[in-house]
Symmetry: C2
Subunit: 461 residues, 2 copies
Amino acid sequence: MANLQELEQEELIKQLIELLEIGAYEAVRALDEKLHYADRAEIMEELSEELRQTYFELLDFEEASEVLEEVGSELFSELIEGMDEEKRSKVIDNMSQDDIVDKLSGLTEEKQEELLSYMDEDTASEVETLLEYEEDSAGGRMTKDYVTLTTEMTIDIAIEYLRQNAPGAETIYYVFVTDEAGILTGVISLRQLIVASPETKISEIMNENVISVYDDEDQEEVARLFSKYDFMVMPVVDKEEKLKGIITVDDILDVIEEEATEDIYKFAGSSDLEIYEEDDASWLRVVRSVRSRLPWLIITIFGGLLSGSVVARYQGTLDANAALAMFMPLLAGMGGNVGTQSSTITVRSIAVGYVEGKEAVRTFFLEVATGFAVGLVCSVIVGLAAMLTNSSTVISLIVGIAMFSNIVTAAAIGTLVPMIFKKLGVDPAVASAPFISTTVDITGLTIYFSLATVLIGKWMI
Amino acid sequence: MANLQELEQEELIKQLIELLEIGAYEAVRALDEKLHYADRAEIMEELSEELRQTYFELLDFEEASEVLEEVGSELFSELIEGMDEEKRSKVIDNMSQDDIVDKLSGLTEEKQEELLSYMDEDTASEVETLLEYEEDSAGGRMTKDYVTLTTEMTIDIAIEYLRQNAPGAETIYYVFVTDEAGILTGVISLRQLIVASPETKISEIMNENVISVYDDEDQEEVARLFSKYDFMVMPVVDKEEKLKGIITVDDILDVIEEEATEDIYKFAGSSDLEIYEEDDASWLRVVRSVRSRLPWLIITIFGGLLSGSVVARYQGTLDANAALAMFMPLLAGMGGNVGTQSSTITVRSIAVGYVEGKEAVRTFFLEVATGFAVGLVCSVIVGLAAMLTNSSTVISLIVGIAMFSNIVTAAAIGTLVPMIFKKLGVDPAVASAPFISTTVDITGLTIYFSLATVLIGKWMI
């Protein structure tokens, strides 16, 4: 019974909703205890507004604050407003600050003001400080909810200090140490504290080599450090090395997922505008989708018109050999796909830090070598297919050679463009599928038709 | 001095390598102390084999084992083989098991056998058990390096037990509790242990609702649970609910990054074969690239030939109106891009758990609505562009209407296909860029030419 697997949990959630609907509140409470706060928050999202209020009122203030940490911004503001004053102040006091900031930053400034007015002065001013940081910076991700030790404390005093001050803190498993001026000077683990002798000074056993981040550091870089060093928590400092907050690893899991989604969308030629909350209104999502995607599509239009002008330039060759038109989609499609494959792999390799210095040159040659191998196989298949579908030998040969050159060019362009962007300080992800496939369309058609013009001219006479 | 920022660190690494090269070993040691093991491992990878051995010998066995946890498989096996027997057994004993398993699983079976022979019997047999799990299952990610408490212990005994047995364990911040049969019955945090009164029994204060995973669970699902519940550690059980191992959050960061890379590659039409280690040989990478990408490209060829047959079918219309050829690349390109955008966003939404039940229907209509809006804007631009480039009014109109229908169809196909795949139990990521753009090519050309055939026939007479 103690061991909850995912399926059992879904079953519990269903039962709980049914019990709520028939008003069996005691049974609800009994079941509720078996559920994690994240699951209770999920239940909240699924309930009608009325049942939601009933359910929420069943929770004591500690439970309420844990559940509030897990819900979305809109629901957070609805539930906070629905509480009586006394419970509200207790609940807010018990919530972790970075979560409050997270919810507030999803709301309008007006709503923010209103919710800030419910908090005591200290909390409100700390939350306001945090709200001023960019959402995707270290400062925007950190919490001020931690305890610090000072270098001069002895172990027994430090442990007593933690007992008294830590209950609300986000983590006490790694505690940071500052000097009198608040400057970060070391870190000590709860484990070290427990095994050390009571009269030792913190400064004697703390680790002085703390890796920290500045408060304006980008969250993607922070995530990279967490994953490189296997940290559970990292300190955030200002430019004077004063400790400003801490970031815990659970927030970093979200960052990594968010950044991956952003990268994936960019590949498809859509901006990060398109990462919306689940509770966004429908019309808002459509407007944002259109705004994120249109820029790339308009570039595609001009690229497409350019490709068209290539076709127009060789209209003579095309008119004389109508069969050439039949292989246009095939050549363009293959070039686009090979180019997209190469650029996707290059952009991701740059993002995870694989492609630097010598490695870049090696990656380029490996991609071109792959293009050669793939090109050989595909050009033979396509050439044979052309012959089997009754094209002349010359046309089959042209299609085969064009296919090969096309694939090699596409692999080269797909690899080079993101690397050049990186060098120029442009986000390599701009070399997305739409950009690459449009570029490769133009080079591919030029290769195909110029080859056709030259070869047909030579051999047909 | 205590506070290391990334730039300072790179400077330190450079200095350290220079000092090693001139043989100033004492200075190397002094500098070394300021570096994290992950940085020392990075230095290892950059050094020549000779300098690497020299540097590695400077480390004591504790440092050596920490560094070994951070290097790649190849380097791990090189360094282990280079050590004398006594140091080796100490080093291996001090390493965390899941890291040993991780390195071994990147090596040939022969090498695995050899390295296993260096370990003591206990470790070797535990590592062998772990090696038998699928690499990307919960079992393959877990470690057996942990301590458990039993329900009947009192707090003071438990704390003493941890002091004696925990030094090598991966985490003691959350300790799992089992009954006499080894069945998982609860969890308790170090924090709870410290604040509880000494004579309390574990069973009285432990949390009985432990969320666990089965050892054969997929790592992606494990990562989802970590991120949903903000866990630092999760217990892994077998089908009898017996505790088999634990997974810590630092390994989950890698899983999330790995799975994101896998998804990104799949979008581009490449399989997970292509996720290689940095130290893979060049020829191996090319072979694997070709094998990962060819299947999709061969499907693209057949798709392209099908598209070609659409063109061939309307050859009459095309011959009579040569200008139609000019807009083929544009229409195909736009359809491909819109389809890829829709499918990418749908596949990612499915992956992060946004699209289920009612939400699926809503997503479909929102994508089609986006297609409508985007289609309107693009068809006007393209229609005008066609008129400006001296196409006749009929052709401009055909191009505009085709563009609009093409974009709406592409958005619908791009959204529906991944959803249908999901329903059928096929990985939605199969609806990748190559698949969608090829499908949309065929529908787009059919729309274009059939429209042209009908309209030109009607209006030209």
